[in-house]
């Protein structure tokens, strides 16, 4: 989850998010280097007493400052396209979960075997127990087996919502009447938080998403328990 005074991304919990994080580091470094260079040149130009009144053309530098930016752009484009195609690869999910957006909660359906469905409401601030996170916790979490490709089909029952979990590198719009597919692999066990990412009315800020990645047996025990409770 996010922490106070955070500047960068949350720690990656999926291979895709790791790639995105590293790419961002790479692109940001290039951008910072260019900006520093330009800022230096500006201050140097502004603070010199020298003048040059006779320069006419400068073939060499023109070539350099055309080719160099083109090379830099290629150095940004290649990793970017690599990740784009990586995210688009055909994966073979082990599990399909439907995430349905409502005003103002999410409901999750696990229907590969039995019909398991449950709602996931935010825990109101006054009901939090010590250690829990304000506006982020829910009564029921979306539990997934770790290290398994999971397909999430996102839709909505009323207005537009968006299902997002930053540490997994996932965001997908929930459109009524449409089934949007996304997938992720949780590389490690843990609890990953997200929030609704499309304005959907009064309690848009109060319908968070919590994904809990656990070992497979724990997932199987949890789903049996949930089915009994239903």
């Amino acid at each position: 989850m996010a922490h106070p005074t955070q500047l960068g991304f949350q720690d990656a919990a999926s291979p895709v998010m790791e790639e995105l994080l590293h790419f961002h580091d790479h692109a940001l470094m290039i951008v910072l280097l260019i900006s520093t260079l330009v800022l230096y040149i500006i201050t140097a130009m502004v603070s010199t007493k020298l003048t040059n009144k006779y320069i006419l053309d400068s073939q060499e530098i023109e070539i350099v400052w055309t080719i160099l930016p083109a090379v830099i752009l290629v150095l940004i484009a290649l990793p970017s396209l690599r990740i784009l195609y990586l995210m688009d690869e055909i994966n073979d999910p082990h599990l399909t979960i439907k995430a349905m957006g409502h005003q103002w909660y999410w409901s999750y359906e696990y229907t590969d075997y039995e019909n398991l469905g449950f709602d996931s409401y935010m825990i109101p601030t006054q009901d939090l127990t010590p250690g829990q996170f304000r506006l982020l916790e829910t009564d029921h979490r979306m539990v997934v087996p770790m290290e398994s490709p999971v397909r999430v089909l996102v839709s909505a029952e009323d207005v537009l919502h968006s299902w997002a979990v930053p540490s997994l590198g996932v965001k997908m719009d929930a459109v009524p009447g449409r089934l949007n597919q996304t997938a992720f692999i949780a590389s490690r066990p843990g609890v990953f938080y997200g929030q609704c990412s499309e304005i959907c009315g009064a309690n848009h800020s109060f319908m968070p998403i919590v994904v809990e990645a656990v070992p497979l047996e724990h997932f199987e025990n949890w789903s049996s328990l949930m089915l009994e409770d239903a």
């Binding site: 439907k98 590969d112 089909l153 089934l179």
Partner: protein, 86 residues
């Protein structure tokens, strides 16, 4: 043939990748499998043959389609207002 279907169903984990629906929008995938199951049921019933092969489509649409959509369509089929051709 019937044994293959049985085997496929026993090893079923979730709806596999369907090359007819390779992209983000899986609405049609759910719809098509729902239609295919009920068409298969109707056709095999009419012939008086075992409808077990149809169960594949059922597993797939159950995996993909939201429960509320399935309930709505089932009700529509009963009422005769289902928009698809079965």
């Amino acid at each position: 043939m019937a044994e293959d279907i049985q085997q496929k169903l026993e090893k079923y984990r979730t709806a596999p990748f369907d090359a007819r629906f390779p992209n983000q929008n899986q609405t049609r995938n759910c719809w098509q499998n729902y239609l295919d199951y009920h068409r298969c049921q109707k056709a095999l019933d009419a012939k008086g043959v075992d409808t077990a092969p149809c169960d594949w489509y059922k597993r797939v649409y159950k995996s993909l389609c939201p429960l509320s959509w399935i309930e709505k369509w089932d009700t529509q089929r009963e009422d005769g207002t289902f928009p698809g051709k079965i």
